[in-house]
Symmetry: C2
Subunit: 389 residues, 2 copies
């Protein structure tokens, strides 16, 4: 053998927390990493080998990244897939592939493809105008959800439409005729779950245990693993995630978010073509973290063991409501006194209300113990704007 896969240079579009956590794993194995991010002091800056400071839509900079790296990946899905397609045609390796990115970043196309492959999704329809919304209301009943097909995250780009009277304002609030929109039936779910899955370049698929998510104001607050659902549902969810990986032929980590309905059906809510916030638990919870797995997949290394080692709870640390300013962590000492608590602080310079600033992971002998400890730790740690002394 004359190839040293570990000598490949990895280029990451985005230097936020996901990029940072990819690099921490890549560095363990000795990889060289180049990031592209407009923020000089972004979370990944200090641990990357090179940082191309440029906007995400700067095609010259993305081309520079492609020229300097052997493989390109990205930490968020709102990138111009056309640019990546051109680079791929020129022979650059880009994972997940621009084709799977292109489908996924348009939620309507994503759902169309899943539906075509007989993977259960909520009912949905394309919305061109207010008349279509009237039809959605008749077909799905109220409330239903109006969504931007592109660019949404953490609930941004979603509006709940409760009655015909709200149609006009909802349509306009999401950009109306200027934006691609879709409507989706409102699912009165009993649980939100997500399953991480990874596909290697050779087509190998590794599926993680099922995590159970809690959101507040559409922002993920907590993931508990294993999800407290029946064995049958667990098997079903993992098998669905496996099928989703085959549909998109994705290379790298994906996260499949799902709803469990009252009548015990599982519907796919959304697919993210990257490591995901609800998968952070894997850093301390699993034999192979989602970040290590992603690096292994895109560099052509074999996928690692996804076994959950101990019950694990992940809680996000969000910027508190005190306003914007230089980020200051209060109470880390108290939080770390709780057994099994790990603190991950992303290193964003500034905090603002509900901004994702870090997370904590707690492993324990039982899920109840982990959840209890996570709650105690979460109550002690907070990130606020620095107060002047």
């Amino acid at each position: 053998m004359t190839v040293n896969l570990l000598k490949q240079k990895i280029g990451i579009i985005g230097g936020g927390q996901l990029g940072k956590m990819m690099i921490l794993e890549a560095k363990k194995m000795g990889f060289y990493v180049i990031i592209l991010d407009p923020t000089f002091n972004c979370p990944a800056h200090s641990i990357a080998d090179e940082h191309i400071v440029a906007n995400f839509n700067d095609t010259i900079a993305i081309r520079k990244l492609a020229d300097r790296a052997d493989i390109i990946t990205y930490e968020f899905e709102h990138i111009d897939a056309e640019v990546l397609k051109v680079l791929e045609e020129e022979g650059h390796k880009i994972y997940p592939t621009p084709r799977s990115l292109e489908i996924i970043q348009n939620k309507y196309e994503q759902k169309m493809l899943l539906k075509k492959k007989r993977i259960p999704v909520p009912e949905f329809m394309y919305i061109a105008d207010e008349e279509d919304m009237m039809e959605a209301g008749e077909q799905f009943g109220y409330p239903f959800i109006l969504k931007s097909c592109r660019g949404g995250y953490d609930g941004k780009g979603n509006v709940v439409v409760h009655s015909p009277q709200e149609i006009k304002s909802a349509f306009e609030s999401l950009g109306g005729y200027e934006q691609e929109l879709m409507a989706e039936e409102f699912i009165p779910f009993t649980k939100e779950i997500s399953v991480l899955a990874c596909r290697g370049i050779d087509g190998d698929i590794a599926v993680y245990p099922v995590g159970e998510n809690e959101h507040e104001d559409n922002i993920l607050i907590q993931t508990k693993v294993p999800a407290q659902i029946t064995k049958t549902l667990t098997t079903k969810a993992m098998s669905l995630a496996n099928r989703v990986m085959k549909v998109f032929e994705g290379v790298g980590m994906f996260c499949v978010e799902m709803f469990v309905t009252e009548d015990k059906r599982i519907l796919i809510n959304e697919v993210a073509p990257r490591p995901h916030n609800s998968g952070h638990y894997s850093i301390e919870g699993c034999v192979t973290s989602q970040f290590e797995q992603h690096i292994r997949a895109i560099t052509g290394l074999p996928l690692g063991d996804t076994t959950l080692i101990r019950p694990t709870v992940m809680r996000n640390i969000l910027g508190d409501m005190e306003g914007n300013g230089e980020a200051f962590v209060y109470g880390a000492e108290e939080a770390l006194k709780v057994p099994g608590v790990k603190i991950h602080i992303y290193g964003k310079e500034n905090t603002s209300p509900k901004r994702k600033m870090g997370h904590l992971i707690v492993t324990a002998q039982t899920l109840e113990e982990a959840a209890e400890r996570a709650q105690i730790a979460a109550n002690t740690i907070k990130i606020s704007p620095r107060k002047e002394n």
Copy 2:
């Protein structure tokens, strides 16, 4: 509370693999890290926030590091303790303290203090000249060990003296009158074990499970955890490590290497005031790795849970015998196909025979399984000088 402990800047003397692994943990928690190392492309270079390129005996550079960092630590014990003492007197925080470093870095003083505190050590004596060695031979019998009091590692600085005829050459081979020397009885041990322990600034002590070490040519090859010794010996070893921490009043991670004798005694072989090669298993094996623990200790954070999560085997990846040259990793793909195998490559530019280039860690349901898998993986991966194509 108005202090953000995570905003402290950590200065590390040394940017080798131990420094690198400290930084990987420090970065998870958001710390800022400055290293001092003479090699520009040292393992820690690309993930440190700043790198002062200077020799370890460059007192001006060490002072610069102290001025820029809030806390100083180090990854190896052969540093001028006098320089650190002066800095400490000026108010700089240095952990482990220069006083404990000073004692430990002189093996004779280290053993004298342990003996004084009634901690069992092999018989030893100071060696000023060949006459003293004759006496050592009479007192300890042959073979006995001649050691440099300072600067040895991986068997360097140690000579086995088999007979009175070897005294002269042994004495001269270690520098004779130019060096401080000591003699030690030869212990026909049944096992070499080591116990990691950490002491916080507040005096809290955390002790790790017992690891069992295998050496080849005085270089550590493998650590298996838990050590296959009786419960009584395990308790004894852990309690000895705890006592050693109190003796040196060390702050930070220490490693206590011990011999188990045929008559079931435990003798302290050596103490290292830093994270240690035989403690790498803790990265994937324990709730809190030795590197995270060290960072927590020196920054004043509470110590973490030292529980072993699963049986773990660590194997060093040494440069193979093919010679010196640009380091090239062969067979990483094969090694990573083995379940539960993690590869850590330090990123040293050049390899040479037996140089520590990386390690692999295997966790599994049983120690036998972990050891078997570690053996398979170790057989597939090798680091050689790059061959020209």
